[in-house]
Amino acid sequence: MVVLVFYAAVVVGVVSAVVAVAHRNPVVNVLSLVVTLFCVAVSYALLGAEFLAAAQILIYAGAILVLFLFVVMLLNAPEVKSASEPRPFQRTAGLLLAVAAGVGGVALLMGIQVVAPGAQVSGDAQAIGRLLVGPYLFAFEFISVVLLAAMVGALVLVKRKH
């Protein structure tokens, strides 16, 4: 059962990720990335990180990608014309580098020593919450400062100057 769910998530996730980076329509890109992030959330759940699975859906699918969608529709930017200048060299180099990233990653994995998985620890909200307000209390509080700074920065950047 777990195997089935995992491979379904992998297939759907990889296909929608390819659509997310390759399709010409930005709205399709964003919506396809939502599907990919759902598949990542399924992977989190399979790894025993239930809280992160929920947070992934809430934060990424629910907030970040909605923000993306807002900006896509706000800008309503016409598709970037590829006719501006054909650059086969850049295209080939980019593809090669992307493949190299994948092959290099797998090659690195071949070299690491696989330890037997430790005991399954449940990453439910209670366990994560105890860590957040325990050893990680300072970082947890400081995140609010970071978010506030980002909020103010974003407002300043898009403010129209009169």
Binding site: V3, A9, V10, G13, V14, A17, A20, V21, A22, P26, N29, V30, L33, T36, V40, S43, L47, F51, L52, A55, Q56, I59, Y60, A63, I64, L67, F68, V71, L75, A77, E79, V80, S84, L95, L97, A98, A101, G102, G105, V106, L109, V115, P117, G118, Q120, V121, A127, I128, L131, L132, Y136, I143, V146, L147, A149, A150, M151, G153, A154, R160
Partner: protein, 101 residues
């Protein structure tokens, strides 16, 4: 047949490579940011899988913080895109070839 954390790491590597391709091949600023998000999620997934190997929860807390910082980063990045679009009427990164205008 079993699914080990290593399978998830390989899934993460594939997603990372696809995201890299998106960042390198696309010219629209929004598509580049989307590719970055994909790479970030792949890194998160690998981190959770490695944490599962070690049987600790600290990796999950770390991923939670990464998500929060990513949200902040996306907000600023998209604001930059909007500001650039207002100035140049384009988000084609190939046309962003001057440092001041």
């Amino acid at each position: 047949m079993m699914v080990t954390p290593m399978h998830f790491v390989i899934f993460a590597v594939v997603l990372f490579a696809i995201g890299t391709g998106g960042v390198l091949l696309r010219r629209s600023g929004i598509s580049i940011l989307l590719g970055l998000e994909l790479m970030l999620n792949a890194a998160n997934l690998a981190l959770v899988a490695f944490g599962r190997m070690h049987g600790t929860l600290d990796a999950q807390v770390f991923v939670f913080f990464v998500m929060a910082v990513a949200a902040a980063g996306v907000a600023v990045g998209l604001a930059l895109l909007v500001a650039i679009f207002r100035k140049r009427q384009s988000i084609d990164v190939d046309r962003l070839n001057v440092l001041r205008w």
